[in-house]
Structure formats: C-alpha cells, structure tokens
Symmetry: C2
Subunit: 343 residues, 2 copies
Amino acid sequence: MTPPSVVIEFSTPFAVFLGDITSETFAKTGLGLIRWRPGECVGQVRLSAATYDAGVPDLTAANARSQGARSLIVGSAAVGGGVPDAWVPALCDAARAGLDIVAGLHVRLASLPGLAAAAEQGGARLIDVRVPPAGIPVGTGIKRPGRRILTVGTDCACGKKYTALQLTEDLRRRGYAATFRATGQTGIMIAGRGIPIDAVVADFVTGAAEQLSPAADPSHWDVIEGQGGLFHPGYLQVSVGLLVGSQPDAFVVCHDPLRTHVAGWPTFPLPTIPQLVERTMQLGRLTNPGIRCVGVALNTSRIPAHERAALLAHHAEQTGLPCVDPLIDGTDAIVEHLEGLFS
Amino acid sequence: MTPPSVVIEFSTPFAVFLGDITSETFAKTGLGLIRWRPGECVGQVRLSAATYDAGVPDLTAANARSQGARSLIVGSAAVGGGVPDAWVPALCDAARAGLDIVAGLHVRLASLPGLAAAAEQGGARLIDVRVPPAGIPVGTGIKRPGRRILTVGTDCACGKKYTALQLTEDLRRRGYAATFRATGQTGIMIAGRGIPIDAVVADFVTGAAEQLSPAADPSHWDVIEGQGGLFHPGYLQVSVGLLVGSQPDAFVVCHDPLRTHVAGWPTFPLPTIPQLVERTMQLGRLTNPGIRCVGVALNTSRIPAHERAALLAHHAEQTGLPCVDPLIDGTDAIVEHLEGLFS
C-alpha cells in the first residue's frame, strides 16, 4: 500500500539534533524519538556549549551521514520556540552533508538564513512537520476496509499519543498487524510520517483523517493518535473532524485523574468518562455505526502508589471496561478485550 | 465597537463587475449583492461582450469611482472558477482608478497579471474574501455580552445565509439592533465584512467565530450565518466550531424538504429536524447552557403551492415551533417567538 502523498514522511535512520541545550526540559522531542525508535537513531548531534546528554553516541553531521543517517531531527526546543542563531550553521552543515532536516518549529526551516541554499547544495529536504501537505481532499465518509482504534481524551495533553503508541506495540507483540497513525508534531516525528491535523484548513480535517488512515487489509489495525477533546471549548472541532474521518471501530478514553478542568480554560470542567464515551459514540456513529469504547487509559504518574489500584478499579467498575496506565501496566488488558470483540 | 482586525472588511458604495457573462447562472454573487445591498450599489461594470444585464446602471470603472464607489466587486463567475484573461485589463483599470477589488475566487487576486502593480498605482486594496485574515486566536469559550442567533442546517446549501439575512431585516424592522455576521464568501460580500470560516485553520475555528461576533450591547442581536451541517460527513467540524465559538442563545433550523440525503454524499441520509435540534443543543450547551431552537426555515420554492401550508404546518407541529419559508413568508413568526423568550 503506497502512502498517500498528502501525508508528511521522512527517511530513516536519523540523528537527533540537540543544539546547545543544558536541560532535559528542552529535549522532549528528542527523548521521545530515542524512546520509541531506538533502532533507527544513530546518535545525537550537539554543539560544544551543550551540557545535556541524551545518552546516545555523539556524532558530527558528517559522521551521522556516513553511518547511514538520512535525516537530522531537531529534537530540542529553545525558550520561545524559535531557533537560536548559534544552531543555524550546524543545521546548514548537516543539510550540506545530505541529511534531510526535520523540525516542528514555529518558523519555517526555509526561513533560516542559508538553510535553503545548503539543502539544495546537499540534495537534502527541509521538512516542517507543523505544516500540512498541499492537496488534502474533502472527507467522503465512505467506509474503508481495515480496523481502526482512536485514542480520545477528556482534555488535551492527557496521554492520547503515548496510549496509541503503547497499543500499537502491544498489538504487534501479540501478532497483529498494527500501524501508529500520528496527528501531531511529536507523533509525526516518532512515527516518521503523519499529518498535523490541527494545522489543516477546517474544511479538510475529515479528509485529512481519511488520508492518514487509508484502506487496509481487513484484519489490520490502525491506531490513531487523538487530538484535543470533544468537550474542549477551543479545539473540539479538530477532535470531531478527526473522529468522523477516522471512522474508528473502537476507541480508548485517556484521562488525567488529577485534572478537574480543561487545562488553560479554568471555567470548563472536564467531562466524566461516561459523558465522553457517550458523546464519542453519538458523533462517531455518523461514519461507523459499530463504534464502541474498549478501555480507559489513566495517567497515574503522580498518584501515590498505594492509591493506584483502587483508582484503576474504580474506573473499570464505572465503565465496565479494562482500565490501565499504559506506561506502567501496558495495554494488554485493552488488547485482550479488543480481541474478544473483534475476533 | 471597533471591528476586530481579523475580520475581512471592504468599503462601500460599490460597483458590481460582471465581466463578459451571457447568463444569469454566472451572476449569482452580483445578484445577491444587488438584492441585499441596493442602496450601496452604484451600478454594474460589464465588458462589451457581455449580454447579461443585472438591471442596474452601466458604468465604466472611472464613472463608478467618480460616483463615489470605493470597491469593485467581482460578481460573476466563469466556468471552472478561474478568471478569463479578457477580464484582467478591466480589473487593472479599476484598481488604477482607485477602486478596491473584491473577489471570492479560487485564485488570489494578486496572482492576476498586472493587478498588484495597478492596485499599488491606484492606492487600491486587493481583497480575497476566501482568504481568512492572519492573527485569528484560539477560542476562549468565555461568555460575552450580547444576544446571538445562529442558522443551522440539515445540509449545506439549504437556506442558512438567506434565513439569517431575512431574520436580520425583520429584527431591525421591529426595532431591534441586529447585525448579520457572514461566514462564507457570498455572505461576506453581502455584509461587507466577515470571516470565511471554512478556510480557517482547524485549531482556530472557534476563535474565528468569537472574533466574528464580539462582545456587544446586551440587547443587541448578532444573526450568524451557519455553515455545513452537524450530520455532514465532510464538513461537520466546521459547523461544530462555528456553533461552539458563536455560543448562540437561539438557533433556527434550515431545511430543504425535497432533499433526502446529504447533497453530494448520497449514502448519508439527512437527519430529521428533531435529531438536528437535539444534537445542536448537546454541542452548543458547552458554551451556552441556555441554547434553544426558536424556529424552522424551509425552502419551499419547488413545492407545489397547494402543498405548502400543510408542509409548514407539519413541521410546526412536529417541533412545536414557528415554521416559515423566509423568502416567501418572512421570519416575523420566528422573531415574535424570540421576543416571547428573550424580552
């Protein structure tokens, strides 16, 4: 199956560029890449001022290229989201050495001084993962073969990406063909492909979701990274378009149990999990009448150890579904439930 | 109240440019302008090959300017949506004469040969009403003063714009302060301002709706042109964002009684009006718990005269709400119902 051209895609193996950072705080993207794609990361490229070490081999861009790397991924962020002047010569060197430069910056890579020329010289591509590709069509709503599972959330930033990644790993380990489908910049970097769904023009969100998760073998699972939340006053339209375009057979609700209100929108309480399940079913039935919830994923990283089991049990009882912390428990309990429903 | 800068706005009076068209079919935008803004249209600018006459005075661009026109609005369309070469010199002349050029074309005005230079020479602006302004913020969900009514539809193209225009007229005639808020290109041309909501980047649709209908006097009515439909498999995300960002107190359902399926999506049946009312309430309550349906607007233009009354009565009975054809009956029955609820 050829990936459709409207999906962003970059080549591997890769090296991670960390600039001159001095703290882990600014290396989130790079650390995510190293965690989720260890076999494809040849090492880190750092400037001499960097004191933070991600624990993989130090390389120059030329070394990375000679060790087979095809992309250099900007895995660090500077305060304010821009690119410090000091980073640009190193990025130019890498492009000149033939490494595609991949970044999810607020500025376009081509706007950095000299980088477009260096890329042309080296035959390298500049890939901005925040910029959706041209040519995304309008959604058709037509049912396509293959199975799909979407992560949805009671809010933004509550575990939708990592739950989807863990589900993909666990499905594969249990012998299923499964593909993680990325919809945000970090996810796209981890997957090596995807569409930044929130940056797509409104009319084309359902169409983008259809392209992201195309027709597949009937037994194949696409595991789609959710965005936003259906009760989010700023972003629900993104979540709705992604849901209807993805036409998932199944979804998992992700929730941060310590959060009571939408992060950054303090007058909006979070929905309960049953409310979110009901709303997701109502809207999702438009393109998949068989949609159903198959599990709950909680982020329990800040819950005292002795309270964890009771919290998971509470949500399992409330919903009648398996409830796990994907990063602690894995998602096998959800995959087993899925097996029972779709065998 | 200063209109926020993220709303497209053009100056009046205006002349309508009809190019060389030979049929009314291609003059829809121009005719809409003449119908809804008669006092502000100084006339039509046509090429010598044109055989279609919109029934307003013929002018050259220079004449139009000397009669006070400040904008020339492209009110005609060519097959395929492009701009025929033959039209471009006339548009350049108008720009050179100091008329802002306003269009809702598939191509940017600035890409037409010579037009950007002519506009600079004449001190004219090129206004593409399909292109949303930069700087639209994310939606806040915060309740703002002023009353709002939104038209929603069982489908696209079923009367949402004309219902909103008629409601605005009827509210004003009955003494209310009311403003039509345009969300599509034709509506923006008619209103002279607005935001093409379906062209906004997905993340900012709720924010665009908030900007379009800003805080106002508590007794003022904004009448907001709906887009798409909440059961539309391609465009529902646009409708959802517009609904939640508009936070309407009231809505009117627009429906074409001869349509059974979503136009262009033949496997998707239309929702019933009660289904649409319920879904609109569910989603709209997120930002306005008091949201309610206040009427039904049917397009009965193709219904036999002897069946009209029974059809309107059927829907009135089914919903318990006033049901009218806005272009035949006006919307007074809906406005009276609104008065009873919000006095």
